[in-house]
């Protein structure tokens, strides 16, 4: 949250790159992490709306809830859950990266983006095989 007028941003004028000074959100890792954060955020928001409505069916009847939850157990939706968890895991780890940029140190933002991608791969390796076995063995 810059409060100072444009003329006094001395620390940001020291950049030697050809990119515009003053933001890490334009170009390369800083930008693509931001783009992915927005796309995954929107996807998760719309899933959240549907997920609250389907869970609310426990208040209608056990039959209604079981009928809808059975749709989540089909192979197609099983693959959709891989995408959903992938979006959530990226948004979670990149969100922690944003917090570290804002409250700790922005100069490690690039390496932290690759840490996010690495943690994402590790988490998905732990989740996807187990989940797909659960989906396709029933």
């Amino acid at each position: 949250m810059p409060q100072s007028p444009a003329g006094t941003l001395t620390s940001q004028q020291k950049t030697s790159s050809r990119r515009p000074a003053g933001t890490l959100y334009r170009g390369r890792e800083g930008m693509w992490s931001w783009v992915l954060h927005r796309i995954t955020g929107v996807a998760i928001f719309f899933f959240l709306l549907v997920h609250i409505l389907d869970t609310a069916l426990v208040r209608v009847s056990p039959e209604a809830y079981n009928a809808v939850i059975a749709q989540y157990q089909t192979p197609l939706m099983g693959l959709g859950e891989v995408a959903l968890v992938g979006a959530i895991v990226f948004h979670a780890f990149n969100g922690l990266r944003i917090i570290l940029i804002d409250f700790w140190n922005a100069k490690y933002q690039k390496v932290m983006f690759y840490v996010v991608l690495g943690l994402w791969v590790v988490t998905m390796l732990a989740f996807v095989p187990r989940h797909l076995i659960n989906v396709f063995s029933h």
Binding site: L48, L49, I52, A56, V58, P62, V85, L96, H131, V135
Partner: protein, 151 residues
């Protein structure tokens, strides 16, 4: 006609209102605080529902009965509901502010986001706290025998 150009990339100045609450600052802080809590709550939610036992294949009314009968999971789920919907709604508000330019479109979209968030928070909270694991007239096979053995 004389026109003055602002210095490029200068921070925009907010309106004249002084000493008011800086809602954008608190919204910015809320995204970070709720984000940390949501990482814990949602990772826990995903682990218990998708990783433990047979994962998504084991989900049904009886499974939910077992969780929502426990005050621990009631508090967990309601905290997740409120934190996630407000976090998501505020994120969507940010996108509308960035991409919707016409005042009418912005108003309609932000009203729709607010309405969705309020309705789903009320609905979800009522569902968690009024849940009945043994509703009358239900098929016995669908229920959790741990709670409904007397039926």
């Amino acid at each position: 006609m004389a026109t003055t150009l602002e210095a490029p990339r200068s921070p925009y100045t907010r309106s004249t209102r002084k000493n008011g609450v800086n809602w954008e600052k608190w919204g910015w802080l809320y995204m970070r605080v709720s984000g940390v809590l949501l990482v814990v709550l949602i990772f826990g939610h995903l682990f218990v529902n998708l990783m433990v036992g047979e994962g998504v294949s084991a989900l049904n009314f009886a499974f939910v009965s077992g969780k929502l009968a426990d005050p621990f999971w009631q508090v967990w789920d309601v905290a997740m509901l409120w934190l996630a919907l407000i976090h998501g709604g505020n994120g969507m508000r940010t996108l509308v502010n960035d991409y919707a330019t016409a005042p009418l479109t912005r108003g309609i979209l932000k009203s729709a986001i607010l309405a969705a968030v309020v309705v789903l928070i009320v609905l979800g909270t009522l569902v968690v706290f009024t849940f009945d694991p043994c509703p009358a007239g239900a098929n016995l096979a669908d229920l959790n025998p741990q709670f409904c053995s007397a039926l």
